[in-house]
């Protein structure tokens, strides 16, 4: 259970990225965060694991505070929060296995990690996760030898290696083609479902959000302007979030995406997955 109370972030430049944001995410719920660029989506999720230092407000995860704690405690809390990035953010020159194992860095000492001597259970877990995301035979490849979709799967495995209690997902599909985007989103939802993991997913693609999320939160200029189910996301609400826009054209885009989706499904059936 994640609790955010009155979170405000003002950057040094004076820009108020977040303005008194309060939000709570119960266990097992996947929340989509939508809003125009610059609305503060990215700042919000980075405030949760304090890659961005919030100006004021309080955040707790399973009752333990994330704000106002020392560096050591913060590291211990960060281990419990898995994060997935837009451009995958893998260390390209390391192998896939090292990237997945880097999810365990918060749990092992420096020399162990330096010598790549991770505990046997970590290795086993890493293999299990690679198998789960379908990359069992890529473990020894370098990350920059993988395709975009494969890299994001490694990113997911790395986050899961942390045994997280919360997932923060920042535009997971922004660098992927529509078909791969859907595969990745489906995988994410499935995994969160299997583990009862709560997640906050920043997403710029409204139709994709409506298709996959259980709950959608709309952010505009640092404030929450909508909080409801995908079905409640009407044109009037979208206009409130994004400003005036031709939503009919966007819906048409959705039809195309649906076709792409059906295509994916067919292919998956064909491969017997």
């Amino acid at each position: 259970m994640l609790e955010i109370r009155d979170l405000t972030k003002t950057y040094k430049t004076g820009d108020k990225a977040l303005n008194n944001v309060s939000l709570s995410v119960p266990k097992g719920q996947v929340v989509g965060l939508i809003g125009p660029s610059g609305a503060g989506k990215s700042t919000l999720i980075r405030c949760i694991n304090r890659l961005v230092e919030p100006t004021s407000g309080a955040i707790t995860l399973s009752g333990r505070p994330l704000t106002g704690i020392g560096a050591g405690e913060l590291r211990a809390m960060r281990r419990k929060i898995g994060m997935i990035f837009q451009e995958f953010a893998l260390v390209e020159r390391l192998t896939v296995m090292e990237n997945v194992l880097s999810g365990r860095l918060g749990y092992v000492g420096f020399w162990r990690s330096y010598l790549r001597r991770f505990p046997a259970e970590d290795i086993q877990r890493a293999y299990r996760l690679l198998d789960r995301v379908g990359l069992m035979d890529q473990a020894d490849k370098r990350a920059d030898a993988l395709s975009g979709g494969q890299r994001q799967r490694v990113g997911i495995a790395r986050a899961l290696a942390q045994e997280p209690e919360l997932m923060l997902v920042d535009e997971p599909t922004a660098s992927l083609d529509p078909k791969t985007s859907r595969q990745i989103m489906r995988l994410l939802i499935e995994i969160c479902g299997e583990r009862g993991l709560p997640a906050i997913v920043n997403i710029h693609d409204v139709p994709l959000a409506q298709q996959f999320m259980q709950r959608i939160v709309g952010l505009r200029a640092g404030r929450i302007v909508f909080d409801g189910t995908p079905a409640e996301l009407t044109e009037a609400v979208l206009t409130k979030i994004y400003g005036a826009e031709d939503w009919a054209a966007m819906r048409k885009g959705t039809e195309e995406d649906k076709a792409a989706d059906a295509d994916t499904l067919r292919e998956m059936l064909r491969l017997g997955a």
């Binding site: 296995m97 790549r116 046997a120 293999y127």
Partner: protein, 268 residues
């Protein structure tokens, strides 16, 4: 589906040398070399212990530099160094441009290409100091020999980089100009010069900085400049004057570096 047995260990696969023998051979060879090389060093510890006090005096000289007692020598050396730097850079650029154009594969005929490339190779292969020794032997002591040395070194540096830049230009632009029926000179002027000019200015400023630093060295073999003053100061064990000279060199190099990065931004 039952839980599969996953491996309990993982070893990072070697990235560059995949063959085991090569990896071991290289490591053992390096270790043997290191032992041999270190054993040839043969430091004379009593001499070093004697030098310790002198070393401390140099450190003090650096912290409390003495600009005044040798100021005449220092200022003469500086003037020589600075004038040498500017004149040799300008002369170097003037000579480098035609050689650089000739040494670009996509511009001139083959025989010119080979002549220009061999001039560049010669200039780059010879150490500045060795060149300076010869020029001093031929032209006598003083900054004129230094000027020639730096000009010679500048030619190798600038022509090579200029030629590479010309080879890297966008061929489509040159093609377009050629298609209008332009002459060889017009192609150079309209298609190549605009593309390489900013880089040439940047490289020239960089070379100015290098030439100043080099001008502080070639004085050691008699080619004038601040290096001669420095050499004398060290020979006379006047470490406070030597410290002052080194600080001046560092300061001027810093100014040149910041100045040239500012100028480059201003010119682009």
């Amino acid at each position: 589906m039952s839980e599969r047995d996953y491996p309990l260990t993982w070893k990072r696969p070697p990235q560059i040398l995949t063959h085991r023998g090569w990896r071991w051979g290289l490591q053992i060879g390096f270790a043997i070399w290191l032992v041999l090389a270190l054993s040839t060093l043969d430091p004379n510890w009593t001499r070093i212990a004697d030098g310790w006090e002198r070393g401390m005096r140099f450190v003090y000289g650096f912290i409390q530099p003495n600009f005044s007692s040798r100021w005449r020598d220092i200022s003469n050396g500086l003037v020589e160094s600075l004038t040498m730097t500017l004149t040799s850079t300008v002369a170097g650029i003037v000579i480098s441009v035609p050689i650089g154009i000739g040494a670009a594969r996509n511009v001139g005929p083959a025989w010119i290409y080979y002549i220009c490339r061999s001039i560049i190779a010669m200039s780059r292969a010879l150490q500045e100091i060795i060149v300076a020794i010869f020029f001093v032997a031929m032209f006598g002591f003083g900054p004129f020999a230094g000027f020639l040395t730096l000009t010679f070194a500048t030619i190798g540096f600038l022509s090579k980089l200029l030629a590479e830049d010309i080879e890297d230009i966008d061929e489509a632009q040159a093609e377009a100009i050629r298609a209008t029926g332009a002459s060889w000179w017009q192609v150079i002027g309209y298609a190549i010069q605009p593309q390489v000019m900013p880089r040439l200015i940047g490289l020239s400023l960089y070379r100015l900085d290098i030439n100043f630093r080099e001008s502080a060295v070639i004085g050691i073999v008699g080619a004038g400049g601040i290096g001669a003053t420095l050499n004398t100061a060290i020979d006379r064990y006047e470490y406070d004057s030597a410290g002052a000279i080194l600080l001046i060199i560092i300061l001027l190099v810093m100014i040149a570096e910041y100045g040239s990065s500012y100028l480059r931004r201003f010119l682009q």
